[in-house]
Amino acid sequence: MTDDGFRMTNCVRHFSVSRILFCVTFALLLVASSFAQLGGEVAPGTSASFEPPTARIGRPVEYRITVTGIQTSRTLPTPPAVAGLSLVFSNQTASVQFLNGQAVQTTTFRYTATATREGELTVPGFEITVGAQRVRVPGATLNVVAPLPGEAAYQPVRAVIDLPKRDFFLGETILARLLVMDTPDETPQFVANVSKTSGTVVFRTELRTRREQFVWEGKPAGGLVMPLQITPIVEGETELNSEVSVHAQKLDPVGRRSGFAGQQLIMTQPVTLRVLALPRAGRPPGFNGGIGRFTLGKPVLSATEIEAGEPLTLTLKLSGEGNIEGVPAPEFTDTTDWQAYKPTSDFQRGEDPTQPGGTKIFTYTLVARHEGKMGTPPLPMSFFDPAKREFVDITVPPVPVVVKASTAAPVAVAAQKETPSPAEEAPREREPVMTGLEEKPGRWLTSASPVLWKPWFLALQAAPPVLLLLLWAWRKRQEYVAAHPEFIIRRRARKAARKALAQARAAARRGNAPEFLRAGVGALCEAAAPLDSTRAGSLTRSEVLHALRDDERASLAARAIFDHAEVTKYTAAAAEIPKPAVLLPELEHAVEKLSAKS
C-alpha cells in the first residue's frame, strides 16, 4: 500500500466514525427532547391586569390578559361582566420564545376598559380553554376615581363624510371627503379600512390619507382627510353611512402621547343625499352620460393635407372632474364625405392620484370618400354640469382638410399584393371586450335560484313514492280479499245489518210496527248471515236463534221479533204487537251480539 492509499483509507475510516458519532448524538438528543416534552408539560400561566391600575370615570384604560405556555389560547377570552365597567376587545399580540428547547408562546389580549362609576371595580377570575386544558385567569382590580372639577368627558376620534351642500344627480361622481378628526383625548394615526354600511351609491375610497387642518361646522379642526368618490345609482333620498376602522393614539390629560394606542371601529354620522334624475328635456345631441365639469381641448389632426385613401387621425382631449373615465367616445353622425372607423379611447389619471378626474383621449380614424377642400364631419358632444344643473354643448366643429388625388395607387396595389394573407399572419392575442345588451327580455321567471331547494319541488318528489305506496297497499288488499272472501261477506253483512237496523229505528220513530218488525227480522238475518256463510234471505228463524243460543237476552229478543213478525205477516191481530220503541233496544242488543260473533 502506498502512503497515499494509507492516508485515504484512514481518512475514510475517520469520516465514518465521526459520522456515526454525530448520528448517535443526534438520536440521543432527540430521545432526550421527547422525554423532556413528555415529562415537562406544565400548565399554561395566565395573568390579568389594568394599565394603569387607577382611572377616572369615563377615561379608558387597558385591561390585559396574558397567557404563557407551550400551547396558547386560540379563542378570545370573554371576561365576566362587571357593573359600571365596559370592556371592549381591542387587539391581541403573540410572541414565541425558546426556553429549554421548547417553544413558549405568550399571547396578550387587550381590552379597552371604561368605568362609569367610582370605586374599586374588580373583574373576577374566570376560566379559559388553552389547548385541551381549562386554566383560570386571576381577577384584576381597577381603582376608579371621580373626574377632576371642570374636566370634559372623554372624546374618542370621530369621523364624518364631508359632501358638497347641494342636490346630486344619478350617475354623477361626487367628490367628497372622509374627515377623521383629532380630539383632545385621541389622535387618529391611520385609517385601516373604510366600508359603506348603507346607501345605494357606488362608494370608492383612497386609503392614502393626508393630515390636514380644515374647517368643520365653522370651527377649525385637524385630522386625517381621505378623498371619497360617491356615485348615486338610485333616484330619491338615500342615507349614507360608513364604518371606519382607525388606529388611534390615546393622549394623556396634558395632550402627550400616552403610549396606549389601538384600532377601533367608528361609524360616521349618517348623511342624506337627495338624488335627482338627469333632466329629460333639453338634452343636446351627443350626450353620452358625461356628468361633471369638463373642457375639450383643441382638436388635433394628423395632417391638414392628405391624399385620397390616406387615413386621417383626429385626436380629442377631454379633461376635467367627474365620471370622465366611464364616458364613451361620441360617434360621428354625418359621414357623407368621410368613412369613419370605430374610435378608441384612453384614460390618463391626473398627476395627483388622490384627486379624481383626468384626461380622456379619443382617437378617430377617417378616410375621405372623395377629393377636394372639405372639413372633418362635426362631432356632437355634450355633458351635464351638476353644479349649474344644465347640459353643456361642446360639439367639435369641422376642421378644414385638403384632400388631393392619390398618387400612390399602383404602389398601394403592389403593396397590397405583398401583404401576407391573414392565414399567414401570426395569431394575435385579442383582449376580451364587453358585449352589448340583450334586445329581448326573454322568458320571465320568479327566481334565479334552482327549484331544487323550493318546498314545492321537495313536496313534488314525495308524490311518486306516496302514489306507489298507495298502489302497493291497494294491491295487498286485493290479494288479501282474494285469499279471504269471508272478509267481504262479513263486511257486506255488517253494512246490510246496519242499514236494516236504521230502517227499523226509523220505523220505530214513526210507530210503524209492521215495518219495524220486517226491518228487524232483516237486520237479524243480515247480522247472522256470515256465521252460516250463506245469504241472509235464505236463513231461517231457528238458524238465527241457534247463533244466539249463548245469550239469553238476545235470544229472547230475537224470538220475540220473529214471533211478532210472523203474527203480523200471517194474521191481522196487530193489536197484540208491542210498541216498536220497547222492542228496539232488544233488537239493537241482538244485532250487536250477532255482529260481534261474525
Binding site: N193, L445, L452, W453
Partner: protein, 241 residues
C-alpha cells in the same frame, strides 16, 4: 267564480310581465343614451319586483359595469349564466370582467363543470322524470296486475341509466350553491368573525369564492389560491340566493 279567479291570475301574471317588459325597455333606452345609473336602477327594479330573466340580468351586469361596480356586474352575469348557460355574450362578459379586474375564474370540480352543460332546471326535470319514471315502470305493472312486458324493463333501464348520468350534475348543482361573489373592492378577509378581527387579505370586487361555514353576520369563504377567512354577509352574495 272559477273563471273569474283564473282571469284574475292571468291578469296579474300579465301585469307582472308587462311591468318587467316596460322596465326592460326603459333600462335599455337609458343604457343606449349613456345614462348608465338610470339603466342600473331600472334593471335592478325588475329583479326586486320578482321578475328575473337571463337577458335582464345580462343587461343589469353591463349597466353595473358601466357605473364601475364590477362586483355587482359579475354577480348579475353569473346569475344570468346560471339561468342560460348557452349565452355566449354573458360568458364573454365574465371573461372580460375577469381580464379587466385581474381576477381568476373560480376553480370548479369536474361535476360542477358538468352541471353547467345544461340549465339547472333541465337537470332537475331530467333527474325527476328519469328516476320516478323508471321506478314506476318497474313496479307499476306488478302493482296494477298487468302483464309484464319487455319494453317496460327496457324503458325502465334506459330511464334509470339517464338518472345515473344526472347524479354528478345534481352533486355539482348542490356544490355550486355555495359559490358567491365579493361585491365591493377591498373587502377585508378577517381572521375571526368579529368586527375587530385582523385583516388577512383584501378581496377584489367580482371575485368568486365558496362559502364553507356561517356564523352570525359573517361567512367563512375560500377564494382562489386558498385565501380563506371571514367576510361580512353584506359584502358577499351567493349566486343562488
Amino acid at each position: 267564480m272559477k273563471t273569474f279567479i283564473a282571469m284574475l291570475i292571468l291578469m296579474i301574471v300579465r301585469l307582472h310581465a308587462e311591468t318587467g317588459d316596460a322596465r326592460f325597455a326603459k333600462g335599455t333606452t337609458a343604457y343606449t343614451s349613456g345614462d348608465f345609473a338610470e339603466a342600473v336602477d331600472q334593471f335592478r327594479r325588475i329583479v326586486e319586483e320578482g321578475n328575473v330573466s337571463a337577458a335582464a340580468l345580462h343587461n343589469l351586469g353591463n349597466a353595473e359595469w358601466r357605473v364601475s361596480r364590477p362586483g355587482y356586474a359579475v354577480l348579475a352575469w353569473e346569475r344570468a349564466r346560471a339561468l342560460d348557460p348557452f349565452n355566449v355574450n354573458t360568458a364573454a362578459n365574465l371573461r372580460f370582467a375577469r381580464s379587466k379586474a385581474h381576477i381568476e375564474a373560480p376553480t370548479q370540480s369536474w361535476h360542477e363543470l358538468y352541471s353547467t352543460w345544461l340549465p339547472t332546471t333541465a337537470w332537475l326535470v331530467a333527474a325527476t322524470l328519469a328516476l320516478w319514471g323508471g321506478v314506476i315502470l318497474l313496479t307499476g305493472p306488478r302493482l296494477l296486475g298487468w302483464r309484464r312486458a319487455d319494453w317496460h324493463q327496457g324503458v325502465a333501464a334506459l330511464l334509470l341509466g339517464i338518472f345515473l348520468f344526472t347524479l354528478p350534475a345534481l352533486l355539482g348543482i348542490s356544490r355550486r350553491a355555495q359559490l358567491g361573489v365579493v361585491l365591493e373592492d377591498e373587502t377585508p378577509l378577517r381572521l375571526t368573525p368579529t368586527r375587530e378581527a385582523e385583516t388577512l387579505v383584501k378581496l377584489t370586487g367580482g371575485e368568486v369564492a365558496r362559502v364553507e361555514s356561517e356564523r352570525g353576520d359573517y361567512l367563512y369563504v375560500r377564494a382562489d389560491g386558498d385565501r380563506a377567512g371571514w367576510v361580512l354577509r353584506k359584502d358577499f352574495v351567493r349566486v343562488w340566493q
